[in-house]
Symmetry: C2
Subunit: 200 residues, 2 copies
DNA sequence: GTCTATAATACGATAGAC
DNA sequence: GTCTATCGTATTATAGAC
């Protein structure tokens, strides 16, 4: 548990994480980050000589680790992968609701904003999503899915998750996320059932 | 067909549409919009006295209409609703690829950016998504789905669509969108099959 | 209605004292 | 390492000539 923020550097990274998550990259200014973290501007550029972009790259790496940890934690609460993954969507829905739809989807906005406008940040986002999908593929195969299905489904899971976050944030309601979770449950159950039958 | 841009006002709206779609709200400046549309700044504030926000509200309304039209057009190309909806994802994938992942998901970024930071724009986005989902519900019920399933599935379709767009833009590849489309096809087919059996 | 010049403000980034 | 004052350059928006 290194959740406890210790150094000033971590304080900046943690503040940036939250602000990028709720507002996105372009709407978040250095001034806001330093006022939120209580660090003077001079110190900020001492710790992050590459400025806002360098900070974002590090923040996204940390976010990526956090997302993988989120997948692992959700799956650890259930015996079955399918139940674990669906519970992940429910955990995110709860977080969205508790934060008034500001948090729960830390990369969603930033990855879209920078997909075609900032190659370095795009690469960092890509790497983060790649890590999450790799973890999902591993869990799905362990849970009895075929490798081919696992690849398609890991993408579908992340897409459902991100799309559900988008709609829940837009409507300020957990309902879209819950509807998506229900149908993802239907899909995963059915896919595994079909694959199991085919193998017998 | 009022696709042909006539007035200077439409020229501004059309330029804003494209820039909001590819870059988002915060990264798009008035200066860029007027230089893209070739309209002087004074004229811009003459046509849009409420400035950037007023322009965005109108652009989003137009985008919403365009999205509904997109659903109708895609469904019109196929006899079956399920095939029509899946073809919509494929159409978007093609558009993403053809525009180097800049276009194809005109509200995705803006709706996320403004979900908790701008109430007026959020309301406009919500209304646009609501219209799309209403159209989808109508088509699904016509296509043999139960009303209860149609509501859940309309959300799931939009979530898959937006999530697929996010991943395809992040990875600069149509593959995520295609994987999502395949699994959406599986889900919709299976859901209708189950409902049909239950009704007999 | 059309346009240019400019205001007021915020941005990211830096210089340089301590 | 720490901090403040400041630089240039964006931004949105306006004033006022034509």
């Amino acid at each position: 548990m290194k959740k406890k923020v210790r150094t000033k550097r971590d304080e900046i990274l943690y503040a940036a994480w939250g602000l990028f998550e709720s507002q996105g990259y372009h709407a978040t200014g250095i001034n806001q980050i330093i006022s939120e973290s209580g660090v003077p501007k001079g110190s900020f550029y001492h710790y992050f000589p590459e400025g806002k972009e360098g900070l974002a790259l590090e923040a996204i790496d940390a976010i990526g680790e956090g997302m993988i940890e989120g997948v692992r934690a959700a799956c650890a609460t259930r015996d079955d992968v399918v139940e674990g993954i669906v519970s992940l969507l429910q955990i995110i829905a709860t977080k969205l609701d508790e934060t008034e739809y500001r948090h729960g989807g830390p990369l969603t906005i930033v990855s879209l904003e920078t997909a075609t406008t900032n190659e370095r940040i795009n690469a960092a986002c890509r790497s983060a999503y790649h890590g999450v999908q790799a973890e999902l593929v591993k869990k799905l195969i362990q849970g009895g899915f075929t490798e081919s299905d696992a690849r398609d489904l890991s993408t579908t899971i992340v897409a459902s998750l991100e799309g559900g976050i988008l709609l829940s944030r837009a409507f300020h309601s957990t309902e879209p996320m819950e509807q998506t979770a229900r149908q993802l449950h239907n899909l995963l159950s059915e896919r595994r059932r079909t694959a199991t039958i085919a193998n017998n």
